[in-house]
Symmetry: C2
Subunit: 313 residues, 2 copies
């Protein structure tokens, strides 16, 4: 007699259950919107690089905001980039390259012509040994923030977060990875490691083969559409064929030199909200989705950035 | 006495070895350029979808060529797309959406307004159960073409190649994956699986969370820059705010209806050259690189496509 009774109880309970509204699972964006104020980290103005391109064909301003990468990663190049910005070195130079599904690159169009190249301010030496650093404590195989295993061949390293997407090598070394929007340092053939004067942004699928071969120095946090929509160059590697095709750089400044710059914050990758957000990116359960992926790679979990909603007093 | 003799022999041999020029490792592009004629597969004209956008601001033509996905994948939608192309259904419709690092989408701007929507020709039914198919023989855990393991959480499936990048589930199911340039079918909320009338192309990092949630029906093989450089829409999800911001579609045709269309071929993913190319993409050893990655994901190993160098006789 038990089974029918339970069935009856279930039938009696059903209307009450049905009356409870079924709450859909939150989307990644909804989780980020609900993050606590203390989970956001304010980005210091001098960790921002503000690039003003020449206005577009309709006269509209084109501003690209880049966050410079945090220690311990790529610091010799970051130091040079601050020196170049403070000396207004990029002003009047240009976007020289746009290669589809790869990079947009800027710097001195005459940089490889010693007679015409724009003189550089004093810069610190860089070396390819600085592409990696000792892994910060807590990262690596035993870290909490393990995501996809990038390497199908060697199973030798993990991708994790340390404010930035980072790959780690059995807790011995760590390096920032190339994702959409990452900013890196153009260079010549090894042992040249680049100064930081020639920079590029990724505008396609993460070119992870560049990791540990080029310094990653930052990420675009606003305005990447001003780079990603530029006409592609038609020469090899997407370089523009004629000077007229290039886009002029009006100025590049550190954030501290830009009047009225908004305050930008990024979500702490150590926060509970980031963990929920990353899980939701890896397993979409919001209404549109019918089959959660069961995983995501670090480049599909972009670190959320916002403008501070109200001015800081 | 044997070891010193061998050493002496080695020393004697050294100058001759040094005189041999050190041949740099070939780049992925060089490997593809050296592929044998028999390793290329000609794409049938009716497996091509040729989209002509309205000319750009300077009057230049904008053609996008899409290869429709091969059986057994997504065939109900492919059948509908052929029907729609043959009835010239897309002519005069528009690009309605461009979301940075995500998708560009086209179709009927009035598609969701029953009173104004353009009537559709008779189409076959579609169902979300068709997002996956039984894995073709030879794919999956025991296949030869295993690349990166996409899922860091479940370790449940592998990414492989079957002419197309495909994910497999322990040899039971397979599904085409979303990479840069993939073409998919817009849809409403489940159980709507879309007809194929509303299409999009990926213009950013592979949105793998869409796999098994949306039908992948093809890939752009030429002219993606005409989509990836379009101005981004400013409404939610990158939809254009005003009709004037949309780009008009002059026509979409199957390749067999396009006079003078070049012959396109893709490299067989079963070929020896493709295996060498994939390995080179995963482990760059050409001169610029100092540290091979040790792996690559399927979306970083785009299937090479070429125009047939000489006209077919």
């Amino acid at each position: 007699m038990k089974a029918p009774l339970m069935l009856a109880a279930a039938l009696l309970a059903a209307p009450a259950l049905a009356a409870e509204p079924v709450k859909p699972a939150p989307s990644p964006g909804e989780i980020v919107a609900g993050a606590l104020a203390g989970e956001w980290i304010t980005i210091a103005p001098d960790d921002l690089l503000v690039m003003e391109l020449a206005p577009d064909a309709k006269g509209r301003a084109r501003r690209v905001v880049i966050q410079l990468i945090s220690p311990p990663f790529s610091q010799p190049w970051v130091a040079n980039i601050r020196t170049l910005a403070r000396s207004h070195w990029w002003d009047g130079l240009a976007i020289v390259r746009a290669q589809d599904n790869y990079v947009v690159q800027w710097g001195d169009p005459d940089g490889e012509d010693a007679a015409k190249a724009k003189p550089l301010p004093p810069l610190v030496p860089t070396h390819e040994s600085h592409y990696t650093v000792p892994a910060p404590a807590g990262l690596g195989k035993n870290g909490q923030s393990r995501f996809v295993n990038f390497s199908g061949y060697t199973d030798a390293f993990d991708d994790v977060f340390a404010g930035w997407p980072v790959a780690t090598d059995q807790e011995e070394a760590a390096w920032p990875v190339h994702c959409y929007g990452s900013v890196g340092v153009g260079r010549g053939m090894s042992p040249d490691a680049g100064t930081g004067a020639e920079l590029y942004t990724v505008i396609g699928h993460a070119p992870r083969h560049l990791d540990r071969n080029i310094a990653v120095v930052g990420r675009v946090i606003e305005g990447i559409e001003h780079l990603s929509t530029l006409p592609r160059g038609t020469e090899a590697l997407g370089f523009y064929r004629t000077p007229e095709e290039r886009t002029a750089i009006a100025s590049i400044r550190l954030g501290g030199e830009v009047p009225g710059l908004p305050v930008y914050q990024h979500l702490s990758t150590d926060s509970a909200s980031f963990a929920r957000y990353a899980d939701a990116r890896a397993n979409r359960r919001d209404p549109f989705f019918i089959m959660p992926a069961g995983g995501a790679d670090v480049c599909n979990i972009p670190v959320p950035v916002r403008r501070l909603p109200t001015p800081e007093k």
